[in-house]
């Protein structure tokens, strides 16, 4: 009879659970990922490269990068401010703010896009007002950015809030008694303590910003070469039966996912290492 602790399962149960996990992982994650790459290279390397160099694809890539480049810094700022506010202060409406931060997660992405159309579209609340001033939000870059900002809003905040809550305000209070002003305290005391959590949140925010489909799809209008982000472009290509091209663009997104996962593991290892040092 092998010596095992009370909390381990019998070898059979262990084997069963591990096998089930591997099977599910393979079916739902590995096979689709493999399929994306397989299909992308089905017609050969040259076709793959050509698909990515095509004008519409390039502008889709550019648009995706632009949307991320605007929404990630914005949401980092929002997330930092919201987390600072919520964890260092107690005020009326704090609970409300907390639930508002989670709102984009609860809302279906399609609705997240639709609200902007309802507000700024031609028949929307501000439609006439915008038309008068010749400002185009829906079916244009601003709309895409708004939709992306909305759906990626919670990531940084949700990462920072539990972290800052757990860290407490002791160090900040110490800095106050030592005569430091608000900015000094944030920059020299708070920020260094949250830097890994912040990075993690930014990483997740970026992944979602680049990969968002539903919300952006509603506001973009799918104007080829103008208002298609990469995920949208993949759909367009697929609907036109250009499968290899579609999968070629999809590999870029798959690649982004892999890089994100890799950096995430790296960060986890670093922070785990740091936590062990205490």
């Amino acid at each position: 009879m092998e010596n095992r602790s009370v909390t381990t399962e019998t070898p059979f149960v262990k084997w069963l659970l591990i096998t089930s996990a591997v099977v599910i992982l393979t079916l739902f994650l590995l096979m689709p990922l493999f399929a994306v790459f397989a299909e992308a290279f089905r017609r050969g390397w040259e076709v793959f490269i050509a698909s990515l160099h095509e004008d519409a694809a390039l502008s889709a890539i550019k648009l995706t990068l632009l949307a991320a480049a605007v929404s990630v810094p914005l949401n980092t700022l929002f997330g930092l401010s919201a987390a600072w506010l919520v964890t260092k202060f107690r005020f009326k409406g704090r609970a409300f703010l907390l639930s508002m931060i989670d709102l984009p997660f609860a809302v279906s992405p399609v609705i997240a896009g639709l609200v902007w159309v309802l507000m700024f579209g031609a028949q929307g609340w501000f439609g006439p007002w915008l038309a008068e001033r010749d400002i185009q939000i829906i079916f244009s870059l601003p709309g895409i950015i708004l939709a992306t900002v909305f759906v990626t809003f919670p990531f940084v905040a949700r990462e920072l809030i539990p972290l800052m809550e757990a860290q407490g305000s002791d160090q900040e209070e110490a800095a106050v008694t030592l005569g430091a002003g608000g900015w000094s305290i944030f920059w020299r005391v708070t920020l260094p303590n949250i830097k890994w959590g912040l990075l993690y949140g930014v990483l997740l925010c970026n992944a979602r910003a680049m990969g968002e489909f539903g919300a952006v799809s509603v506001v973009s209008g799918h104007i080829r070469g103008k208002t298609n982000t990469l995920p949208l472009h993949v759909e367009v290509l697929y609907n036109e039966y250009q499968f290899s091209a579609a999968f070629a663009c999809a590999t870029l997104l798959a690649f982004l996912a892999l890089v994100t996962l890799g950096l995430k593991s790296l960060l986890e290892r670093v922070t785990g290492h740091k936590a062990g040092g205490h």
Binding site: D170, E173, A174, H278
Partner: protein, 327 residues
């Protein structure tokens, strides 16, 4: 720098943390705020520091006669040492201690060399020479606490405030640091106010004890005075071991374990004594403690010197005469 606390009230929502608290802390004294959890002592300390603000009203905090109620914490010139040290985790010991100096505005900020010298001086003061480059997680609890103290002192505060400074430390380290703090205070003479729930610590360390309970001040006085002349049952019970004896017609009498004498049963004097049986004997220490059951069914604890115990050669189950020392 004396501290005057006048009519301070503090409410958190529906909870009254401080009720009309007034207190005078003389310049250069080492004063303890002693009380159980929830008595308001930490809240009071934080209000003196400027980390909390008293309720609007007549309440005032004066430093050397000057009203500091409206002065922000950073400008009050207080050094605050937190219970869990609150050291800046990602900074070295030297950077921690230098922090208060490094955030001074341009014209007041000392040069690099000056700051380094001051850090060295302070490390010497707290007996942690050579630890400049260490990080907080590489230090023991006692060392961290001394770094926190050095950090608070770097800004040359007029008042030193300590929130349960030894609460998070081992018993032995606590004792050593207590002794060290007393000596330290005698050396630098800075007005110090510290919070503790440990009555032994308060009585041993301070020049003056402020006993607090339920948002109010119960009694203020020198340790000897508060221990020997407590003004209420609460203070009596809080400041040391106590026996409470019912004396018929509803009256109770308080006696310290060392105020009860134990003599041989043969010497029983019916005018002053009661018979008692030894239930338990604890003698591993400088003083022996006996648990006795009196003939009227009440229980008392008596302390006697080891010498007295040996002379009487007492054992569990022995009958003795219990003599209550006349007041």
């Amino acid at each position: 720098m004396s501290i005057s606390i006048r009519s301070i009230n503090k409410t958190f929502g529906a909870y009254k943390a401080l009720e009309d608290v007034s207190l005078e802390v003389p310049d250069g004294s080492l004063t303890a705020l002693l009380g159980p959890s929830g008595s308001g002592k930490t809240t009071l300390l934080r209000i003196v520091a400027g980390l909390e603000f008293a309720d609007d009203g007549p309440g005032e905090i004066l430093f050397h006669g000057q009203d500091v109620g409206g002065v922000p914490a950073g400008k009050r010139g207080v050094g605050f040492v937190f219970q869990h040290y609150a050291l800046f985790r990602h900074m070295t010991v030297a950077e921690n201690i230098a922090f208060g100096l490094s955030v001074l505005p341009g014209k007041d900020k000392p040069g690099k060399k000056e700051i380094a010298d001051r850090v060295k001086e302070l490390l010497g003061l707290v007996k942690l020479e050579g630890l400049e480059k260490r990080r907080p997680h590489e230090l023991s609890g006692g060392q961290r606490q001394r770094v926190a103290l050095a950090r608070a002192l770097a800004i040359r505060p007029k008042v030193l405030l300590l929130d349960e400074p030894f609460g998070a430390l081992d018993a032995q380290v606590r004792k050593d640091l207590r002794r060290w703090l007393r000596q330290f205070h005698d050396e630098i003479g800075l007005t110090t106010l510290f919070v503790t729930h440990d009555q032994e610590e308060a009585l041993e360390l301070s020049d003056e004890v402020v006993v607090m309970r339920n948002a109010r001040v119960e009694q203020v006085g020198e340790p000897q005075e508060v221990y020997d002349k407590p003004r209420s049952p609460f203070v009596y019970e809080f400041l040391g071991n106590v026996n409470k004896l019912k004396e018929g017609d509803g009256k109770s009498r308080y006696l310290r374990p060392h105020e009860i004498e134990v003599v041989f049963a043969a010497e029983f004097d019916p005018r002053t004594d009661v018979m008692g049986k030894v239930l338990h004997l604890f003698s591993a220490g400088p003083v022996a403690t006996l648990s006795l059951k009196l003939s009227d069914g009440q229980f008392v604890e008596v302390e006697l010197s080891r010498k007295a115990l040996d002379e009487m050669a007492l054992d569990k189950g022995d009958e003795v005469a219990v003599r209550l020392v006349e007041e």
